[in-house]
């Protein structure tokens, strides 16, 4: 499985999760896990997704999500899971 971590950080507003999830569904990206908090009005979300059935390149997805983030007014990042796994697990 190709796991990717998507992080969304920014000012809280209506429909952030809906918009991100719509994009993921349209691109056959399966959501495995979502965790989310709001600290002092700031929205902080992490999604673990499976990109195995995605037809696009990783870079393309990352760029499109970044653009989507700009439209909503949040910062969206895509990173392969290994960087976190390597750093935090022995």
């Amino acid at each position: 499985m190709n796991k990717t971590i998507i992080t969304v950080v920014g000012k809280d507003t209506v429909g952030i999760i809906a918009k991100v999830c719509t994009y993921l569904a349209e691109n056959k990206i399966n959501i495995l896990d979502i965790s989310q908090t709001i600290v002092q009005g700031y929205f902080n979300m992490m999604m673990i997704v499976d990109t195995n059935h995605m037809e696009k390149h990783f870079g393309e997805m990352a760029d499109e999500l970044h653009v989507l983030g700009e439209e909503i007014g949040v910062d969206i990042k895509c990173q392969k899971e290994e960087i976190f796994d390597k750093m935090h697990r022995i």
Binding site: D33, I48, F58, I83, F84, M87, H88
Partner: protein
């Protein structure tokens, strides 16, 4: 499974604390390019490097994008050119033509530096070694991306003082040949004692003859991450301090290990080593000197600096060793002056002198690095500074290096601007007493005794 807290921690390291992979360096052996015909030699060198490295930059950028970690530099190191050019080169111009070829291929494949315009003369110089060394000023003034290094001594062989004397002249001559650019050539020239074969960092990277045909070496960085971690344990004792550095170094190095393995798999080139380094840049918050201040010093250079640096260097290695399957290169904290805003501030405040820097090099990675000195410093004085640093490396069985820049036309109190990662530096005063008679003796300093250690 990874949790939100861990993801946020990693991403804060990257976005707020300047965590990056400093370099992916592709080592390429040129031994199979040797030819007695200079044109053919140059052609073979170009082709071998081009074919080996044409995907290096793209691969680096791809990895950077997928993991969200900046990979600042993509570079190449090659077999010391004195060995490769010996059969074909009869003049310094012949050798400089190889430097031109290296520069051309570096531009073509998009790397920002190519290292290995080098000679290994720790015991003696062949005519080719001497010719290459004498060609350095010409080679560095005619190229943009070529880096040069010369190994002048080792713990096993002692110090080649003939070569030390020659390098004093060559450093000065390189400064003069590049005086229009504030003697920038000297920023791309370093001399070593105990030079490692697998160093990924410039200016001293070369691909040693003990290495495979091609190899991937990675240098990590992250002074800002260590500093931020230490700011959370202010006032705690040394045990807590050391544990914090160790854990942080582990995390930083793991990223290097991941990038090295990915680059190796994607390029089809074996993974060599991760260099466990704390490499600063002139960017604010990316400074080794700032870590020393966080440990408890007013400025780098204050009493206690050598001890603080010794513990920092050791903990970085202890944390890093477990994070990587193979470690090597220079491994340790770098203390370049012009590339570290905290060091520059310390020099400007009068806290840090050349002599204190020399003491600091006894306990950390490398040596006197990116130090600007007055342009009228005598050749023999430069040789004396080099000899001192080589002696520290030889006796302590460690790598030491000298990369100093006599800035032609400038003196103490002025500053010099190199630009980019090389930064800027205040010109530091040099001890004015003579060492002419010492340097001019000629010959070698014998290897030190390896027993009776006290």
């Amino acid at each position: 499974m990874i949790n939100l807290f861990e993801v946020v921690e990693t991403n804060e390291m990257i976005t707020k604390e300047n965590l990056d992979v400093r370099t992916i360096t592709l080592g390429i052996s040129l031994l199979d390019c040797i030819d007695s015909d200079l044109n053919r030699l140059n052609e073979k060198i170009y082709n071998k490097i081009y074919n080996a490295a044409k995907d290096l930059v793209n691969t680096g950028e791809e990895i950077s994008r997928e993991f969200g970690i900046p990979i600042v530099n993509k570079r190449i190191s090659v077999t010391p050119i004195a060995l490769i050019g010996g059969a074909a080169c009869k003049t310094t111009e012949d050798f400089a033509s190889i430097a031109k070829t290296l520069d051309r291929v570096a531009h073509e494949v998009g790397v920002n530096f190519i290292g290995g315009y080098s000679a290994l003369v720790s015991k003696g110089m062949t005519p080719a070694d001497e010719l290459l060394i004498r060609s350095i000023p010409l080679a560095l003034s005619n190229t943009e991306r070529v880096c040069s290094s010369v190994n002048l001594g080792s713990t096993k062989t002692g110090i080649n003082m003939d070569a030390v004397r020659l390098m004093g002249e060559i450093v000065k001559k390189t400064a003069e040949y590049t005086k229009e650019q504030d003697s920038l050539g000297c920023a791309k020239l370093v001399v070593f004692c105990n030079a490692p074969d697998d160093n990924p960092f410039m200016a001293g990277a070369f691909h040693g003859v003990t290495e495979a045909d091609k190899i991937i070496n990675v240098g990590v960085s992250g002074p800002g991450v260590v500093k931020t971690a230490l700011s959370k344990v202010r006032g705690e004792n040394f045990e807590v301090l050391c544990e914090t550095i160790k854990k942080t170094a582990f995390k930083v190095t793991r990223v290097g290990q991941l990038v090295a393995q990915e680059a190796s798999a994607r390029l089809g080139v074996p993974f060599g080593i991760v260099d466990l380094s704390l490499a600063p840049t002139p960017a604010i918050g990316d400074s080794v000197a700032d870590i020393l201040c966080e440990i408890g010093l007013e400025y780098a250079g204050a009493p206690g600096t050598t001890a603080a640096l010794a513990l920092l260097n050791d903990q970085v290695k202890k944390g890093g060793v477990m994070a990587s399957s193979y470690v090597g290169g220079l491994s340790g904290a770098f203390i370049p002056v012009s590339e570290d805003q905290g060091m520059i501030d310390a020099v400007e405040a009068g806290a840090l002198t050349l002599e204190k820097l020399e003491a600091m090099t006894c306990v950390c990675s490398v040596g006197l690095d990116m130090i600007a000195i007055p342009g009228d410093t005598k050749d023999t004085t430069i040789s004396g500074i080099i000899a001192d640093e080589m002696a520290i490396g030889m006796v302590n069985q460690k790598t030491t290096a000298v990369r100093i820049i006599p800035v032609i036309g400038k003196g103490v109190g002025e500053t010099v601007e190199f630009g980019g990662l090389l930064g800027y530096a205040p010109i530091m005063p040099v001890n004015q007493f003579s060492c002419d008679a010492f340097v001019n003796r000629g010959g070698r300093i014998p290897a030190p005794i390896h027993s009776f250690k006290n």
